[in-house]
């Protein structure tokens, strides 16, 4: 399969993830969208590593995956804490970033 097939798949996956991030009202849904976007990047890295015969992309991905896991764990913890404090997990209600 040629390179662009992988890149198209990754682009689609990124777009779906972005769509999820900006449209989902549930915070956990947003986290899932972020996860999709990260993995789309991972597919890109691996595909380029393979087609350019460069191991660096693989190694980089090997680092990104555990970091992603840690990020999700952290994100879920924040969501749980937020739910405890505000009794909601709906993103629209969490507008405390407002100055």
């Amino acid at each position: 399969m040629p390179l662009y097939a992988y890149l198209t798949l990754a682009a689609l996956l990124f777009a779906i993830g972005f769509f999820g991030v900006v449209t989902r009202r549930n915070t956990i849904g947003i986290l899932l969208g972020i996860e999709l976007m990260l993995n789309a990047v991972n597919i890109n890295l691996v595909a380029f590593a393979r087609f350019n015969a460069d191991i660096v992309g693989m190694v980089f991905t090997a680092f990104t995956i555990p970091i992603t896991v840690a990020e999700v764990a952290l994100g879920l913890a924040i969501v749980i804490l937020m739910f405890r404090m505000r009794r909601t997990a709906i993103a629209d209600h969490l507008d405390i970033l407002k100055g």
Binding site: F18, V22, A91, D92, D95, L97, K98, G99
Partner: protein, 616 residues
Amino acid sequence: MTDPAQPALLALLLPACAFLILAVVAPLRRRGRLAAGLSVLFSAGALVAAIAALRLTAGSDGFSEWLWAWIPAEAGPLASVGVLADGDSAIMLVLVALVSFLVQVYSLGYLSDESMPALGRYYAYQSLFAFSMMGLVLAPNFVQLFICWELVGLCSYLLIGYWYTRPEAARAAVKAFWITKAADVGMLVGIVLLWRHTGTFDFLELLQMADGRVIPLAGLGVITFCIYLGASGKSAQFPFHIWLPDAMEGPTPVSALIHAATMVTAGVYLLTRTVWLFRLTPDVMQIIAWNGAFTALLAAVLACVQTDIKRVLAYSTVSQLGYMMAAIGAGFASAGFLHLLTHGIFKALLFLGAGAVIHAVGTNDIFRMGGLARKMPQTAIVFLVGTMSLTGVPFFAGFFSKEEILGAVLAGGFPGPFAMLLLGAFLTAFYMFRVVFITFFGTPAATHGADAHHVHDAPPFMALPLWILALLSVGIGTLFAFWHPKEEFETLGWLTPTAIVVAFAGIALAYLVYQRRAISADALARAFAPIRAAALRRFWIDDVFSFIYRGLMLGLAKVVGWVDRYFVDGILNVLSAWTLTAGDSLRRLQSGRAQDYVYGIALGVLLLLVWVRWPR
């Protein structure tokens, strides 16, 4: 000790020390009598030093200059401070120190009802004035002269406004300050132009240049005219004379010292000192002579209609300053300077005498006095001595110096001013004896009849200076009668009898009108009704000034204020309103919801991509 600059410097520094002590040591100042004692003591020391300086300059024909560099420059100092002790400055120094000392002694009695802190403040100002005036007298260059010139102006302002809770006093102080300041702007311009013209501020260097005819004459007229402008402001020449009568709101000893004997003569002194510069510009000399004579006559007319004893004396001072200026303008500065000295003595005497009367009667209005000669004989005698000196009765101080001025003006080739001055001399005799007859010899006025037993001669502190000045007036007059100083010009034989006749004619008219009542004062007033009406309005000169101030300056201020309020502020207000509106609309972008920010980030990335990838 043979150098006259040494005692002169001492005389200058003693009042400065007194002022510094009184200014810094507040507890001493608040204990008014102690402060007064200190100030009097220091000014007595200054008087002794000044007399020593005079003796030293009289002994040697030379002069002595001590200089300290003040503003350094590459080719010698740009400006120096120091003392220049010569014959003129030494005798002026004695006059200043003498009158200053006597006035300070007199004030002990005159201001005895004042609160202690106010008295301390008064003596601090007095010491500052003595220092500034002596600094002016001894100034070796225009820079020091100008600094001291402004300092005496400040002291004048502070002392006119001594009773600053009275609105008239506060107003008079401000009026005196801003009118003299307006004239001083001219003087400052003149001094700076002179420096550009010649490259020096120093009197002796300028004198050498003037003698050697190396000062370029082109443009010099403007310079001397500017300097004359400053001098005419300080010496109350037309049209700047309007501040001096109002300055009488200050305590009477202050009027005697500052507004009769010393500060107002600073302009005359300056012209005397730099007359060699003015001689190079005959046009300006003409202006000085004519304006001086005109001022003398104008002020004499104004003095005839005043009812306030101090205002009569104030206009008389303006008039006499006009005489001095006329003599200087005619080219004989020594005649003007001589009259300055004698006038300083007898005008201080007149003011202090008037102060004794006011102190006793409690009013300035001559028509509420009357018959005071019986109740206060000593004051009446000394006041009469002063009046006869001013009028020019033989054997009194003013006789010789006034005749000298008349002779000088005639010898200088000014018949017009001479006629004005002669008429002025007649009016002088009339208005001064009008005051004398009404105040001291008339029938006692009803108003003080009730408390007539309170009216008595002055206490010793006030009487002593009066007697000293009276003896000096007589002494100087007698001295001149037998020993004339050498004259620079030929005096015509008919001048002396004419001057005496004119003086006695004025006295006789006043006697007939106000003592014998042979001529009704009302009839006299009717005969001169237009002039009298105009004089009562002060010839509208004050109105012109107040029109300039209210109409032009305040009008301009209003226009400028409008531009500032509606144009300059308007632009800023519109800008700030726009900023607020813009901020208000932009505020909605910050919703606080993370997802909206993600939109923003995505949009930004997209724009960046387009920008980076845009085909160029």
